[in-house]
């Protein structure tokens, strides 16, 4: 390739071959996106189809839910139960996310200030309980209005 003057298309073609694109390395993408928090994952899902499909993977949300929990959250048994109840993404959206947001707002109640790990573990188990109640309510049929989680809803969020 001695020619110094290349036609425009060939120049761009060479540029393309020499640049690195994250979208070509999905495993790397998964690793990076798996470290985001819930809101950022939601934003990332809007970037392009590839990112959206990565962000929909339950494993990403599982990592998010288990992030601060000692021992990583319980292993395959937990995974199958959560999957049966609706998946980690749904768990985060309905329960873990709102729970963490709510708890971040205020300090510990009088007489009990949990450690970070304790708080994470408890919020996960509490979320799982609430999640299972919600799932149970939905079993009633499409007419059923599942409302047991309404108390977790945030007031209108304009951020």
């Amino acid at each position: 390739m001695g020619d110094m003057i290349l036609p425009l298309e060939e120049e761009e073609d060479m540029k393309r071959r020499n640049t690195f694109s994250i979208n070509d390395n999905v495993d790397l993408l998964v690793e990076i996106l798996g470290r985001l928090d819930g809101r950022s994952l939601g934003v990332a899902a809007c970037v392009c189809r590839l990112w959206s499909s990565v962000c929909r993977r339950d494993s990403v949300w599982e990592a998010l839910c288990n992030r601060h929990v000692a021992g990583g959250g319980g292993g395959p048994g937990t995974r199958s139960v959560v999957a049966a109840l609706g998946g980690y993404r749904r768990l985060y959206r309905l329960c873990v996310g709102p729970v963490l947001d709510r708890l971040a707002g205020g300090p510990g109640r009088a007489g009990w200030a949990p450690t970070r790990e304790e708080a994470a573990h408890l919020s996960l188990s509490l979320s799982l309980s609430l999640f299972s109640i919600d799932c149970y309510e939905r079993l009633g049929g499409p007419r059923q209005r599942p409302a047991s989680l309404l108390f977790l809803c945030k007031p209108v969020n304009v951020s």
Binding site: G74, G77, T78, S80, V81, A84, L85, P98, V99, R102, L103, G106, R109, W112, P114, E118, A119, L122, S123, S125, L126, L128, S129, L130, F131, S132, I133, C135, Y136, L139, G140, R145, A147, S148, L150, F151, L152, C153, K154, P155, V156
Partner: protein
């Protein structure tokens, strides 16, 4: 017709008869201000026909008459006796014209309306000993001398005691007709308030933050308000100023007065007071209005002896719906379920076969969380058997079975081996221990190598109903012991609505439900707003309203009903502890896990700063601010070495 005020009103017009003026009379004067249109009904109850529109006028005239008499009292015995004998007195029940006739006898023109400093002068006027009043009273009301007084009816001294209820504070700042009659009432009332505040403080009003102690602060406000009002009054234009804090205190006192009247079987007075409660309640806002409304309805039911016709089929389904809304809008039921589940979970540690007996099946909202926790426990889930007890449904739907089916579906989803059995029972006392045994056919294994089944019994707000029938609770607790449970979890309201006289029960219930409604308001508004935003429909609001109806039904059982009809017989944790211990159970301490989980749950409720989780001798209570409202406790059968309880019912 009660005419104890005949004395004070007819005698010399507006003579307050300071020493003898009844608080009930004050109440009537108060009622006078609120009625609009038509004849004032409170005065009508006494036999006086006064049009509400004439009220201010009548009050002024009474004032003038009184002033004229007192000012002339020293030198004018002749004048007074003239009034007594020579005047033609018209029927005093028509106060307005009667006063006209009295005043027309006065030679002096009506004195000008006094200005602001009057309140103090007025109080001096009242130092006048009742002697002139007595002197005036006799001649004026001497039936022999008056030609047209036909219905004078001197009250017997005994009757006065009927209205000698806890004094209703005048709340002078509250409704003010910009003229002195109220000012004079104010001064009198201030005096009375001072002397009576000690007795009033003993009556526990609602915990609405308008404590009875607030009466102390009401007084300087009253003074200001009355002087301002008197100062502002120049013409006959009535100025109505409503001070709702005063109204709150008055409302509570009227409620107490009505309850006392009911206790004394004075239904006429109670009837009048009940209507007053409704009027007062309308001027309040928020929780107090609703509580007052429900208590007024309950009192009315008691007075008129309305027995709620219990339509069982509609009732059970409707109760379930109400309870669902109550579940969604506030944390009490969730707290109950979560803490009970934690205790059961800990008791089931390491067991491979477990059986839960639920006395309060309803919609089964407690069990998905337990199933999930069992599914996720290290070592895998046990095989779970659930027996649910429910009331009969007469409309051919089998609610218990439907709930069981849903639970089975969920269990199947999360791979928990699950069996369900439902029992319909009118009362828990109909249950026998043999009903809870496992099927002999078993799970397909040989019968011999099956692990023993570990049993837990759960009851949320159910055991107190058994107290309506003597002996029922003992029978049920005997059945529970016969099943040999590893743990018995019990959640009950933390209140004493079962002992003492009607008045004590009423007071206790007023305090309890006021706190409950407060918590609904406080915790509910944020959730309601959030839910509205989220769902679009006014579902949060609907939840709140339905929860209030749910509590209202309890109120309408605690207050008016007696005997077996009254099923809401709440007792405190201490009382339940005594009952359980006598029945052969010993307490199990709920662990710190339950406390932490409950605390975190409460932290999630927006506006939930008012909720308090407390631990009391191993039991957990959830309350609003300083008042515990429900209590969870856990029990197990006392060790065999302990003395077995006597079989006799210890009630």
């Amino acid at each position: 017709m009660k005419r104890e005020h005949q004395e004070s009103v007819a005698a010399g017009g507006g003579y307050p008869a300071a020493a003898g003026m009844m608080s009930g009379g004050k109440g009537k004067m108060m009622g006078m201000e609120e009625e609009d249109g038509g004849v004032d009904e409170l005065l009508a109850a006494l036999g006086y026909k006064v049009r509400a529109s004439d009220m201010a006028d009548v009050a002024q005239k009474l004032e003038q008459l009184e002033m004229a008499m007192t000012s002339s009292a020293a030198q004018d015995d002749a004048f007074l006796s003239h009034l007594a004998s020579d005047t033609v007195h018209y029927n005093p029940s028509d106060l307005s014209t009667w006063l006209e006739s009295m005043l027309s006898e006065l030679n002096a023109p009506p004195p000008p309306l006094p200005s602001a400093p009057i309140p103090n002068n007025r109080s001096n006027q009242f130092e006048l000993p009742p002697a002139p009043a007595a002197a005036v009273r006799a001649p004026i009301l001497d039936p022999g001398e008056c030609s047209t007084i036909t219905t004078v009816d001197f009250p017997t001294p005994g009757r006065q005691s009927e209205y000698d209820l806890k004094p209703i504070p005048a709340a002078p700042g509250r409704v003010v007709y910009g003229s002195e009659p109220l000012a004079e009432e104010n001064a009198r009332d201030r005096k009375r308030m001072r002397t009576s505040s000690s007795s009033s403080s003993s009556s526990r009003g609602g915990g609405i933050g308008v404590g009875v102690g607030g009466m102390g602060s009401a007084m300087p406000a009253a003074t200001e308000a009355s002087s301002v009002a008197a100062g502002a009054a120049t013409g006959a234009l009535p100025v109505v100023v409503v001070d709702s804090q005063e109204a709150g205190i008055r409302l509570v006192h009227t409620l107490m007065a009505c309850a006392e009247a009911v206790q004394q079987d004075n239904l006429k007075a109670a009837d009048v007071l009940v209507k007053q409660i409704s009027m007062l309640a309308a001027s309040q806002g928020g929780a107090m209005r609703k509580v007052a409304g429900y208590f007024a309805e309950a009192l009315a039911r008691r007075i008129y002896r309305v027995h709620p016709h219990q339509d069982c089929s509609l009732d059970a389904a409707f109760s379930d719906i109400l309870e669902m809304h109550f579940y969604e809008s506030c944390p009490y039921l969730k707290f109950a379920h979560f803490t009970a589940n934690q205790a059961i979970l800990e008791a089931f540690a390491g067991c491979r076969r477990v059986h839960v007996i639920d006395f309060s099946m309803k919609q089964g909202m407690q069990w998905p969380a337990l199933m999930q926790a069992l599914a996720l426990r290290p070592g895998g889930p046990p095989s779970l058997r659930l027996t649910g007890i429910g009331p009969p449904q007469t409309d051919n739907t089998d609610a218990l079975q439907q709930v069981g089916w849903k639970l089975a579906q969920l269990a199947d989803t999360i791979h928990v081996d699950f069996q369900y059995r439902g029992y319909v029972a009118n009362s828990l006392a109909d249950l026998e221990a043999c009903m809870f045994e496992a099927d002999a056919s078993g799970n397909g294994n040989g019968g011999a190598d099956e692990e023993p089944e570990v049993v837990a019994v759960n009851s949320v707000f159910e055991l107190h109903r058994l107290l309506a029938r003597p002996g029922a609770l003992e029978k049920v607790l005997g059945t529970v012991r016969a099943v040999r449970p590893r743990i018995v979890t019990m959640v009950e309201q933390e209140a004493n609505h079962n002992a003492g006289s009607f008045l004590e029960r009423f007071t206790e219930a007023l305090h309890y439900y006021s706190t409950m409604f407060d918590s609904l308001e406080g915790g509910g508004t944020a959730a309601a707003a959030a839910a509205e935003a989220a769902v679009g429909a006014s579902m949060g609001q609907q939840d709140l309203v339905m929860s209030e109806v749910y509590l209202g039904r309890q109120i309408c059982n605690v207050v008016p009903c007696e005997g077996t009809e009254r099923t809401e017989r709440h007792e405190t944790l201490g009382q339940w502890r005594g009952r359980m211990t006598r029945a052969g159970f010993e307490p199990v301490h709920l662990g710190s896990n339950a406390f932490k989980q409950a605390s975190m749950l409460l932290a999630l409720f927006a506006g939930g700063d008012g909720y308090r989780v407390e631990e009391k001798e191993g039991c957990l209570t959830l309350g609003w601010h300083t008042r515990p409202l429900i209590a969870t406790s856990a029990w197990r059968v006392a060790a065999a070495g302990a003395a077995l309880p006597a079989a006799s019912a210890a009630r």
